[in-house]
Symmetry: C2
Subunit: 415 residues, 2 copies
């Protein structure tokens, strides 16, 4: 049967809360509009298979509801130039919040998802939640004022956090990085400020995957994995065109897959976890060891320039200077990550793996090593159409995904 009888991914929205309850026909038009941003009546006729008369009736209903608007004319295809339709960006605002381990991003967008303002600054997720979220709200209020509007005009907020989230409740569950946040209601905190908005909270990698799915190269791709490599390593999973969150919301937590029984102790307490061996801090540590061992004059110079510190990005700088040791450090990490991904490729058979996160500035060497390891260890059938590449959205993947996740929750389509 074609219908989806799954009850999970329990959306935050429900028929009583979502501001826009659509019937199936309205839902079809809105879906097409959200995918293409702007669309003509003939496009809708093509997509839906409806008559021109029925299409006109359905469009008029949405125009009367104020959900869509006409925005000028598209190119002619022989006759009159068709008028284009888009979501009515004046309906209200969307807000995206991307909380990373060491930074916060806040963006204000119009209802159609176009970013109007975006601010990023360092932060520390180990601080109490009120402090981190309080700063996010401050930034948001400044933005709203700057744009001559108020919290009452915010319709939806999407929040990404660096830990496992119980999606239906919007709370963090056993977050290893942020013990202060366990069970803390992020949604309630924001709700005090944006009282009428619908607020959705998800894992940071899930929102990045959602960004790829909605406005990146993941658009229209049924099965893909988004791998974030930064302070930790995590994955966002898309199956059958939907985010796969798993039974407890912890799906994609690949950073703690065991890769080396004799490896270093991970911050989770186990031995030889993927992220303990191959994430950002492991790269920085390997660089420091190279300095001590005297194998890399370039890293040694940077180490001195930085007064005895070395960060992941310094390894990237050393690679650009042609430093062999720096290349080897990144090759090793890419190989370990690729070997883990090879198993997941056999299991999941995605058509894309998008790589994002802080280590992408290490350049192509990391990606090359990941690709080699995956191709070496995965089944030919599983890699036949597999593309492994950096996320085209770069550092914007998370914030874009958060904004579109906020938009997602505003619609409730009845079947």
């Amino acid at each position: 049967m074609k219908t989806n009888n799954s009850n999970n991914n329990k959306p935050v929205s429900d028929i009583t809360r979502s501001p826009f309850v659509l019937d199936a026909h309205q839902g079809e038009i809105i879906r097409a509009l959200r995918q293409r941003q702007r669309i003509s009546r003939p496009d809708i006729v093509n997509i839906t298979g409806w008559s021109r008369a029925k299409t006109a009736i359905e469009i008029n209903r949405l125009l009367e509801m104020g959900l869509i608007k006409e925005i000028g004319e598209g190119p002619s295809e022989g006759g009159r130039r068709p008028r284009l339709l888009s979501l009515n960006d004046e309906l209200g605002y969307l807000v995206g919040v991307d909380i990373g381990a060491t930074s916060i991003d806040v963006a204000l967008a119009d209802f159609a998802g176009r970013i109007l303002d975006h601010q990023s600054e360092p932060s520390d997720v180990r601080l109490p939640p009120e402090q981190v979220l309080g700063r996010c709200v401050e930034i948001l209020l400044e933005m709203l004022e700057k744009h001559g509007t108020s919290p009452q005009c915010v319709l939806g907020v999407g929040v990404g956090v660096p830990g496992p989230v119980e999606f239906s409740k919007g709370i963090l569950v056993s977050p290893p990085l942020m013990p202060n946040w366990e069970g803390y209601s992020i949604r309630s905190y924001f709700q005090q400020t944006v009282q009428s908005a619908l607020i959705v909270v998800d894992n940071d990698v899930n929102i990045m995957a959602n960004g790829e799915l909605r406005v990146g190269e993941g658009r229209g791709v049924d099965h893909f994995i988004f791998v974030k490599i930064g302070t930790g390593i995590g994955a966002g999973i898309v199956s059958n065109g939907r985010i796969h969150r798993g039974a407890s919301g912890s799906a994609g937590d690949i950073g703690h897959i065991s890769v080396d029984k004799n490896g270093p102790v991970c911050r989770c307490g186990n031995i030889g976890c993927l992220e303990a061996v191959a994430a950002g801090p492991a790269i920085a540590e390997a660089a420091q060891k190279a300095v001590l061992a005297g194998t890399s004059p370039v890293l040694a110079r940077i180490f001195q320039e930085r007064n005895g510190e070395l960060h992941t990005e310094d390894v990237g700088a050393a690679i650009r200077e042609g430093d062999r040791t720096a290349v080897e450090i990144v090759q090793f990490c890419g190989k370990v990550i690729g070997e883990t991904l090879a198993s997941l490729v056999n299991f999941f058979n995605p058509s894309y793996i998008f790589v994002g996160g802080g280590v992408t500035h290490l350049g192509d060497q990391l990606l090359l090593s990941i690709r080699q390891a995956v191709l070496k260890r995965s089944l030919p059938l599983a890699t036949r159409h597999l593309v492994i590449k950096y996320s085209s959205l770069g550092s914007k993947a998370g914030i874009m995904g958060a904004i579109y996740m906020a938009q997602d929750q505003l619609f409730w389509v009845m079947n």
Copy 2:
């Protein structure tokens, strides 16, 4: 947005071929009926939220179409005993075919999915497809005759095969076990006999997962993995209540995940694949080694009784006699399988892992070792609600799944 905008899992059915094209309301009733087998009008009111009048109208439409029928009365809940409805099992027949590496199963079922006849016999998938499929058709024709019916009355056929399947085309792609079958159209072969039936071909583990999903303990479970351990090792994946087949139909091919860089050569040509280390043949081989090494008097006796042969099931017999070496062989395989599953549990976060296939007769020891390894290596959050158990459908999982997959394809629900 709640609607599913994914285009994949391209069903074999389409609106021009599926015999039963339903609107969304009819689809909702049929979906409830298929889940519960029999249902009363008040049940439908509860499920749909429709008025009693609307419910009566929709039910009458389905009764008039002949898709459903009344089948007596259910228990009273205070008033008149409600009449029960079910799918009209007289509409036609469903056929399930489960082709294993060393056996074939053919079953005839009524339209509601109840098995009327089931035959299983040894076979060899390395034979040419015409020979294997020819025997399946012979069995089917005998069954149809025995039940006083003909191929024209078969509406749907579901076929499971032990290799990767391009689902939309119903052909095998690079099947390692069965090179003769590469690109062979199983669907066309059956179509010659059951000309008006809709035929669907899928991987053997996917049909087992479908069996669990439709009539096993996987009913209503959003995310689970079905692991088949037999001659090889494979997984069927359910995400968001749907079979996840992956980009090339090879999802779940976990048997060739690399688990031991110094391990034995796999039939795929790589070194140390999971199934080369831990599937049925590896268990039998370890038992033979134990006989040669003189570490197991029980296995040595069985080896003699069998005239110099030992099979996987003999290890199970030795365990039941308390043989320590046999226990250790199975513990080792369980540990290796469990360690691989631990990574997949971190990645996928299922709520169930169902284990099926030929090795399930080895008893609880295998399951215990798998569980221990998973619990040891997976994140606590990912295993908090995880249940690992043998499939409740036993050796029927595949054939049941094939029958329900056949039924699935007969309905096309319009949105």
